[in-house]
Subunit: 786 residues, 2 copies
């Protein structure tokens, strides 16, 4: 099913009419507005997507009769005056997606005619269920039309109007105007007028309409019709209405003008992250009007000359820098965030505790399922969380080995191409690269191993050993499935494993004994080194590296004690940077589980909040924590940002972790798992672990055989495509630009935002991505590459 | 007016009854619940704070008649069946604070009797206005009683019930149960039952009550009374009701048990920021159940033995680590956050733009009002924002002066006691101190000037020159007001100014020429060095330091060009760290304005979001931006966190900046300004600038004369008290602990959370703190010290 674009037309001012409650006069208000438009020699149109019953005053027939020539349309008509979800039980129900598509099409068709103004009327109140039982406020959200809210003038109407307004706001709707009937006894229009004026939303009170006829004989009905006609004639000429329509007109124009200037305004005042501004033009900047599920709604990206909506769905193919999990504009997470903001705001965390911080710590320890872990330290992002991890690691190593770090340099053991963040301390944990070598204070401290790479080439999974390591590690190896690459139980007893270990051990020995280096921590991004270029490290190599470090503490210091048991660190504290790879990004709660390793310290961020706001955790063992315990205050880990463990982030994270764990246990990814299960491959093997991806095996096969493709892989939500590059690849390569541009053009359904790392283009879904969208993406990739 | 404590009693289960709309049967539901309680041989009580009119079914008289012995009370009775804010026009209106205090007192009194269960019934819907026109959902929020929500069983009731629920949730209420009448035609109970089950909130449908009598003769009324009695008799024995009451009972018990264990659970799993855990006990951890305005609601802090509420208001005297501006649990900011979450979630910022990020950049450039500033770079917290500033500063200096930073060490020029964050790169910008010297990778790089300090001693404002600088800078000076310390127009032409400049110039010359040092940036926290111990630097010294650096570029490199004009940096790029001091913390939009200096780079955070969530901006001049522009991608500022410019933070920041600017222009702080205006001092002087504080001048006078006090100062929202310490002060001093403990005990009204920095205890208000609360704090300080 195609995603629907949000609605915004130059030639058509389209609005959605929501009522604060049922029976507040939505249709009468719509009729007044349409009348007024028609009287100004413009054309109005009225769309009732779903109509239920004659008792509900909302009705396209009313518009037909009194609308002064307004074009009217109803998409689905039910007869009973009950909620559409009940009425729909007796009828063929339109799917929500189809309903949205029909509305979008109707409005787009109207935009091609001389119609200037359109109202799409909802049924009942804002949360009244649509035909499939979903709240209309959620159902219609992808269109995100500007709202005309009809407030309630009755007793209790102040409350229901404000609550309805808040329900719309927390779904990211813009309320453009409020109308209601004047009632001089309850005076709701006065109170609400002030309320909405403070929000800069115009409110117009209308005279109350004629009373409904108490009898239904012909003459009563005729009198009623006459009264209604004269009501509309009078009211639709009121200056307040004229002014309101003019304001709505201006708002539509200004909104488009603002969208048109946003890219160049942004270029004026924004200094972009990771961006070379040289030669950058406004058209290189994507203007995002809103986002929903996997899609941005982008401005100026439509290819067509026709008066389509100005907004187009753009698949968020970088998962907004690897953060997205539960969809943009997720109303559950919005409400979670709002609850925490309403209950706490942000409260001081040093020396205090609040429920969300404690609940998240508990939940996270459970999710990570690592018997070593005991303590959770909060910071704001992966970079700061890694700074904390490094401070922890260096301290415990120096403490155990009796090193004075002010007098000697203590380094990091890691992998080439690693990346742990943008603050200078964690930049120093990586070898010199394009990211850091021009940072004036950068001083790479440590040693970084090159390593064998997992990839699919020409339909074949293989582990490729770098040329200069082949003498020691052996030649490339082929695997019949990705699962068997991860079959470490089997592979650990292989000759390869022994070669890996010997190589690692010899290298460390050489560095320490011959070059006098000292190491304070082993830092790994398990499975995939993301920012380094989506480097898929042979898990056996990472496992062997960890094993060697832990089994041979004597490598690092003659004072080193022997390994003490499962909760104690040995050799070096092992830090896993799971900021990118953790929390279901690769299909599992942790990426450590792929290696069968329990790190001493782990850092999580990005998906932690489901993709809403920054938050990071550094989790450590009790032994590491205890090293900082001392009667000296200054021995403590003196780190802490002002918003440490902010309640909004912790609350959203608790709910996100729960949502993802529920999906996992409810089998939400079974379809993908089945596609990737060993049964689907030639040689099923009971010991082959569960490794799967939302990207299909057949896509990988086909892409890996494409001429322009060097290799591919997929795991969990990640798809990586290495393009052939005559110049040899790397961060400055342009090989992937062509594919990126084709995705940016996209298909009839949508286009795709993607990021490249040198000659690698990757795509990343959220954990809730719809199979239909993923299928369309696969089609796009095939048509671009195969 | 005393703040009210949130309501939570061991011996009394108190709830607030909200209706999804008016006329949904709140009183009947209350009567059913109270009946059921009474039948279980427990005692029930019913409180109607404000009752309006006999047509409104909500009525304590109904409870009296049918409540089976329920204790009833009504605090304010109005006769007209309209909203309380209209009814109240004819009567003496209770102030909101008084109303809350009366409710709290009534419930506390009941808690001392044998009453087990109490309901506090609201009037109308959740947002129906209270007597003073404020929404009840806001008005009653400080009590934050668990909610019994009466849903609406009528047509449209699904929508109004869910919206009412959302309005309560976004104010941080916990909805404990939902009840409504069964209506088999509309079946709202089925839909809502599913909806609330997904939220783990029990929903119980009740049989519809007997129809109201159509006539009012005595026999009709008698029949009605009989029907109602038998309705209550039957319904209140239903097993669903019994089960619900039992669940509510368990929830109350579990909530208290959870609060009781939270501190020790936190000690088990939390690694606290800036905290030495050695010797820490659970009782050292403050358990925060919620927060509102300036107050935490803390558990276990009540001194009294009586069955008071388990929660006590605790003034947030550190402004939650200097972040708070617009009050905890601010419903406007909650809604802003929810809107952004609903409209965008988080969307990718590299190469894209969205309205909140652009609007905040525009707004910030306007707020900072510095003609040099052109570009805004976003990060997540002050530490990361300063890392960016340092990267900017070092780059432009190396670029201009032709230094190769990989081969030589480029340092920072700053002040002793400066602090710029916890990441290692910005730690290196400060001299060795207790905060950083034990961080293994810390290497202080630069030179830090000692400086004269502003303080009030024995009622006298003075600038105190460190002993070892007296020979060069002259002796201490006295001032007749704080304003005259900031009268830089006058002071710049003084001999002191010349001495300052000579000293600074000679020192730099010595460092560069004699010691071969190179400097890449001047970094200052204008006016107050916060983390260093609330050090109030003589603004003249900071001004002279900036002037010398800019006027004498030749000090730093023989290649240095002469100053080029107002937009160009000269000598060194000047970086102002306004993370703590900016955005109204000191009473002005910028702290740079106190020095009359336009920095080249400024960093803002903390108050930027009004105190809700992490966000930081680094703002720079066009010239600095242009230095990074090059055909080489790797010359760009390759920095960027995943949640860069997250929409929730930017939206909240836009609204916070607007709210603070509005307060400024609306004269919200006039009362304080008047207290501090030069007219109030002996020698008014037209050139003395506007410097003021929320803390009174007379408090400062009195505290500064107290025996245990060494000195004090106040500016903007900050009050700093240096206690005498025989051991000489510093971060490890315990001199301020006694005062901190007295504040933690507090008064009858509330107690105070405060932080100390060595021998300094500071207090910090938000920009919206109530004069009454501040007055009570001043009383507490006087009674503790004077």
């Amino acid at each position: 099913m195609a995603p629907v674009g949000a609605g915004l037309w130059r030639t058509l001012r389209a609005h959605q009419v929501y009522g604060a409650n049922t029976d507040v006069g939505k249709t009468i208000v719509s009729t007044v507005l349409c009348n007024a438009v028609q009287r100004q020699k413009q054309r109005a149109a009225f769309l009732k997507p779903v109509s239920t019953g004659s008792l509900d005053e909302a009705d396209d027939r009313h518009l037909k009769r009194y609308g002064a020539g307004t074009v009217t349309k109803c998409l689905y008509q039910f007869d009973e005056p009950v909620s559409p979800h009940i009425a729909a039980r007796q009828k063929t129900i339109p799917r929500d997606d189809d309903l949205l598509a029909s509305i979008h099409k109707t409005l787009s068709d109207w935009a091609r005619t001389d119609i200037d103004f359109a109202l799409v009327e909802t049924a009942g109140g804002v949360h009244s269920p649509g035909p499939n039982g979903n709240s209309q406020a959620d159902l219609y959200r992808p269109l995100r039309l500007p709202i005309v809210l009809v407030a309630d003038s009755r007793l209790g109407g102040i409350s229901s109007s404000i609550s309805a307004y808040e329900s719309l706001v927390l779904r990211g709707y813009d309320i453009q105007s409020v109308l209601l009937f004047r009632d001089d006894y309850y005076q709701n229009h006065e109170y609400l007028g002030n309320f909405f004026r403070n929000k800069s939303i115009p409110l117009v009170p209308l005279p109350a309409p004629p009373a409904r006829p108490s009898q239904t004989d012909a003459s009563s009905l005729a009198r009623d019709e006459e009264a209604m006609s004269s009501y509309y004639q009078k009211v639709s000429q009121e200056s307040d209405i004229m002014r309101l329509l003019e304001e709505m007109n201006i708002k539509n124009t200004e909104r488009i003008e603002r969208l048109e200037e946003m890219a160049s305004r942004a270029q004026d005042v924004i200094w972009y992250p990771f961006t070379q501004h040289y030669g950058m033009r406004p058209k290189d900047i994507t203007v995002i009007d809103s986002a929903h599920d996997d899609f941005f709604q982008t401005f100026g990206t439509n290819r067509s000359e026709k008066p389509e909506s100005e907004l187009r769905p753009t698949f968020d193919g970088s998962a907004s820098w690897w953060t997205q999990g539960l969809g943009h504009g997720n109303p559950e997470l919005s409400l979670s965030a709002a609850y925490a903001a309403g209950r706490y705001g942000h409260v001081m965390f040093a020396g205090a505790v609040h429920e969300p911080a404690l609940a998240l710590a508990d939940n996270l320890l459970k999710t990570l399922d690592n018997p070593r872990f005991a303590k959770v330290f909060y910071t704001d992002n992966g970079s700061t969380g890694m700074e904390v991890a490094v401070k922890m690691g260096l301290r415990v190593a120096c403490d155990r080995y009796g090193w004075d770090a002010t007098k000697e340099q203590i380094g990091i053991l890691g992998l080439k191409g690693s990346y742990h963040g943008d603050t200078i301390g964690v930049m120093d944990c990586s070898e010199p690269s394009v990211y850091n070598k021009k940072v004036e204070w950068y001083r790479g401290r440590g040693h970084w191993f090159d390593f064998p790479i997992v990839k699919m080439v020409d339909g074949q999974w293989k582990v490729e050993v770098p040329a200069e390591m082949k003498a020691e590690l052996g030649s490339d190896a082929e695997f019949d499935s990705l699962g068997s690459v991860f079959d470490l139980n089997t592979r650990l007893s292989s000759e390869t494993s022994q070669r890996y270990k010997d190589y690692i051990r010899n290298t460390i020995e050489d560095l320490v004994k011959r070059h006098g280096m000292k190491f304070g921590a082993l830092i790994l991004e398990p499975v995939i080194l993301g920012a380094g270029g989506m480097l898929f490290c042979d898990p056996l190599f990472q496992r062997c590296l960890t094993d060697v470090v832990r089994d041979h503490p004597e490598l690092f210091s003659p004072n080193a004690p022997s390994p003490k048991g499962s909760a104690s660190w040995s050799g070096l504290p092992v830090i896993f940077d799971e900021v990118f790879t953790g929390l279901y990004r690769l299909g599992r709660p942790t990426s450590a589980s792929f290696l069968g390793v329990h790190p001493d310290i782990a850092v999580n961020a990005k998906l932690l909040t489901g993709g809403l706001i920054p938050l990071c955790t550094t989790v450590a063992s009790q032994e590491i924590f205890d090293t900082f315990s001392s009667p000296e205050k200054s021995d403590a880990l003196l780190h802490g940002h002002s918003y440490t463990a902010h309640a909004v982030g912790c609350t959203v994270a608790v709910d996100s972790l729960k949502a993802m764990a529920d999906m996992d246990s409810n089998g939400a990814w079974e379809k993908f798992k089945t596609d990737w299960s060993p049964k689907a491959t030639a040689t099923a093997n009971a010991s082959v672990p569960d490794v799967w991806s939302v990207w299909s095996q057949s896509l990988l096969q086909d892409l890996s055989c494409a001429e322009s493709v060097e290799s591919v892989f997929a795991i969990g939500t990640v798809l990586s495509i290495s393009l052939r590059d005559a110049q040899g690849g790397g961060y400055t390569s342009n090989a992937a630009k062509g594919l990126q541009q084709q995705l940016a053009i996209g298909s009839d359904q949508f286009n795709v935002h993607s990021r490249v790392l040198g000659n690698v283009l990757y795509l990343m879904s959220s954990v809730t991505s719809k199979p239909g969208s993923l299928q369309e993406l696969e089609n796009l990739l095939r048509s671009s590459l195969v």
